[in-house]
């Protein structure tokens, strides 16, 4: 078996599995609307959505060995997606990736799909999106903000998986004790992988910002000019671009 963070088939009791489906559903619905809106504004942006979807699919089923932990796990790719195509569309493509993995790769499960969408597709996405904005508002340079967003996306995903498992399975025992136990067990593998994912996120975001800033859904908060870090393409690209609003979600 090659999977990692995905919760496998049958692990979550039916009531908890249903609850996570209900939590995930509105995010997927809003994400579909966001894709349609972006398609009307810029048809090429949908090509980027397809590319990010394929990347999330590949990245999130790619086991990476962590030498000093002696185990394997996978990055998520959803933090990168949130910065490139926006949080709503990323929830949708992550859901599709998780569905295909559950159907054909014995990776995750159909009954646990809602839980996996919430951890990887919702929490992973919005934590990256939120942190990136907060850091840019604090005038943190673009690369560092994207790096932190990628890291927090990965760690938040695994923390949410820990929450989902412990809330459903703690039984008569302590929820917090079980939550801490699972979270600590993830740390040796996920700590370095999260940092690696942050680096990849920052490099990829920087690349797209250099080459096609017009495609980016999440601008690097262009109204803020950081000392030494107003990206030359950024200011140009921001001309006529939409400010980031809740509608982008």
């Amino acid at each position: 078996m090659l999977y990692a963070m995905h919760i496998s088939e049958g692990i979550l009791p039916i009531d908890w599995a249903s609850l996570w489906f209900l939590v995930a559903a509105p995010f997927v619905f809003l994400g579909l609307r966001a894709i349609e809106r972006r398609r009307r504004e810029n048809p090429q942006a949908v090509t980027l959505v397809a590319m990010v979807g394929a990347a999330i699919f590949v990245i999130s089923c790619m086991p990476i060995p962590v030498p000093f932990a002696g185990t394997c796990s996978h990055p998520c790719g959803t933090g990168l997606g949130a910065l490139l195509i926006g949080p709503g569309p990323t929830v949708v493509v992550a859901s599709i990736a998780l569905l295909f993995q559950a159907l054909f790769l014995a990776h995750g499960g159909l009954t646990t799909l809602g839980g996996n969408i919430v951890s990887m597709g919702v929490v992973g996405v919005f934590s990256a999106y939120g942190l990136f904005h907060v850091l840019r508002r604090m005038r943190v340079p673009i690369f560092a903000a994207a790096l932190a967003a990628g890291i927090i996306s990965d760690w938040a995903t695994y923390a949410t998986t820990s929450f989902e498992l412990s809330s459903a399975l703690h039984g008569d025992g302590s929820f917090w004790r079980m939550f801490a136990l699972i979270l600590v067990a993830f740390i040796p593998t996920q700590l370095p992988l999260g940092i690696a994912e942050g680096l990849v996120t920052a490099l990829a975001y920087r690349f797209v910002l250099d080459r096609r800033p017009d495609l980016l859904a999440v601008r690097a908060v262009p109204d803020i000019a950081c000392d030494g870090d107003p990206h030359p393409d950024l200011l140009e690209a921001s001309t006529g671009s939409q400010p980031i609003t809740g509608a982008d979600v």
Partner: protein
């Protein structure tokens, strides 16, 4: 948390162990491709299809930059 085989995924070492201890062990997927080398083939196929889509869309979105002379910029000697 548990004894692990080399390079085992954290699902085995963490998720499945916790679930089994709590009385909710994982069950086989509805479409069980985890049989022999079938799963390896499925991962290979998934990687190939995903890689093709990434490459195809990447080339469309990020075409190679043209040399300066092709962009009509004249060099001064």
């Amino acid at each position: 948390m548990t004894e692990t085989k080399p390079w085992e995924g954290v699902d085995e070492t963490v998720v499945k162990k916790v679930a089994a201890d709590a009385g909710h062990p994982a069950r086989d997927p509805y479409i069980n491709t985890d049989q022999g080398d079938l799963l390896l083939f499925m991962f290979l196929l998934a990687g190939a299809i995903g890689g093709f889509i990434i490459g195809y869309t990447f080339r469309g979105l990020f075409p190679p930059r043209k040399p300066i002379v092709e962009r009509g910029v004249q060099h001064k000697e």
